[in-house]
Symmetry: C2
């Protein structure tokens, strides 16, 4: 994949850790590929180690440049355990089932990014507030200013983690099954695409009179994207 980019395109280093060995043609270290996957899905899985054992916690993430962010309670075990520690943050999207003529050649179409770095707590109150504004605005453009303003206690109760992406890889599969040589075998083959999308909004009970769905949210739903 990386060879689709001009030679001066930005890439993360290909290290012993992130060299894609299995199906390397599906791999890339280009910023463009890694970032597109991180941006497409709001959900990631953060891997960290406590007492030598692995933990994987699902959480929302967002990105600014070559940093990823996530947030939670200041008392959260998962945020505290990751602070100043090596983290693997993985973001995956399943795009479809690939049905081949043989069991062996079945697959899925997917896009995934694995990013590695050291998680840091965002200490500074202004930086933290700014990061949380990003979280909201990246998901729901123009929403921040219409919200009831954040209180000091709320900022204090919240931790934001920031991680510079030291190493990263993307891996992408798409297209039909790779078993044209067996096309004669009498069974249906092809792709069952999977779509994840926003559907009809459900207004909160007790919603104040006259509060229509803002155009920016209607546009988001319409777009077929999750953000």
């Amino acid at each position: 994949m990386a060879d689709h980019y001009p030679p001066d395109a930005k890439t993360y280093p290909t290290t012993e850790r992130t060299r894609v060995r299995r199906s390397p043609k599906r791999g890339s270290h280009a910023h463009a590929d890694v970032h597109a996957i991180l941006d497409a899905s709001p959900l990631c899985h953060v891997g960290y180690v406590i007492d030598g054992a692995p933990y994987v916690t699902p959480t929302l993430h967002w990105r600014e440049g070559d940093h990823v962010y996530w947030h939670g309670s200041s008392a959260s075990r998962f945020l505290r355990a990751a602070e100043d520690m090596p983290v693997c943050l993985t973001c995956s999207i399943i795009d479809g089932y690939v049905l081949a003529r043989s069991a062996f050649n079945h697959s899925v179409n997917y896009r995934s990014a694995m990013v590695f770095g050291t998680a840091r707590l965002v200490d500074d109150v202004e930086e933290k507030t700014d990061a949380l504004r990003h979280l909201i605005e990246d998901l729901f453009p123009d929403r921040w200013d219409s919200l009831r303003p954040m209180t000091k206690q709320e900022v204090k109760a919240t931790s934001v983690m920031r991680m510079k992406i030291d190493e990263a890889s993307a891996k992408i599969r798409n297209g039909p099954p790779g078993d044209m040589d067996e096309a004669d075998h009498p069974v249906w083959a092809g792709v069952l695409p999977i779509e994840s999308r926003l559907v009809s909004p459900q207004p909160a009970p007790g919603l104040r009179d006259g509060m229509e769905l803002p155009q920016s949210l209607a546009d988001l739903i319409q777009s077929g994207r999750l953000r």
Copy 2:
């Protein structure tokens, strides 16, 4: 959640590792909850440790009783690194965005399961074949018998991992934002549900004449489920 079950319902033990501390009311250790989430999504994230550092690899999983399975290349680093090692396998489904009147009260509706155990390689060829048949049949009922039969080399090239679930938890959020006390603030609030579904099938190029989509796949697409 667990209190919705009769006292004799099967549960995984609540240990220091899996006691849900943040929003404990959203947590459960009931087999019924953990298994329903594992079964609803084919995709999980497997966490394992190499040289003290965490890795999170996306993969397909399936379940039989209180065991989870996954598969890949016999040469895969991710399968080899997990063998006989502690693993955390997490399966998450994002069901919608929850938009509140304050930034702080935003959330997502979700279902997730974290399961812990020690991964074992399935050595026995018959057991391995049987497990792979399960992988296919759990996704695509009635497909196995219509496929070109597996070869010995294919079985050899494939590793299947099995993990007894020693400890597990489920966590579920659903419903509207929890900020009724601020319902007066003039901003739209509510839930933007997210749906993941199979859409129009794409027959493989070169598909043999007369190969119609089998009824079982049409039913699966129609069901709105992913398996």
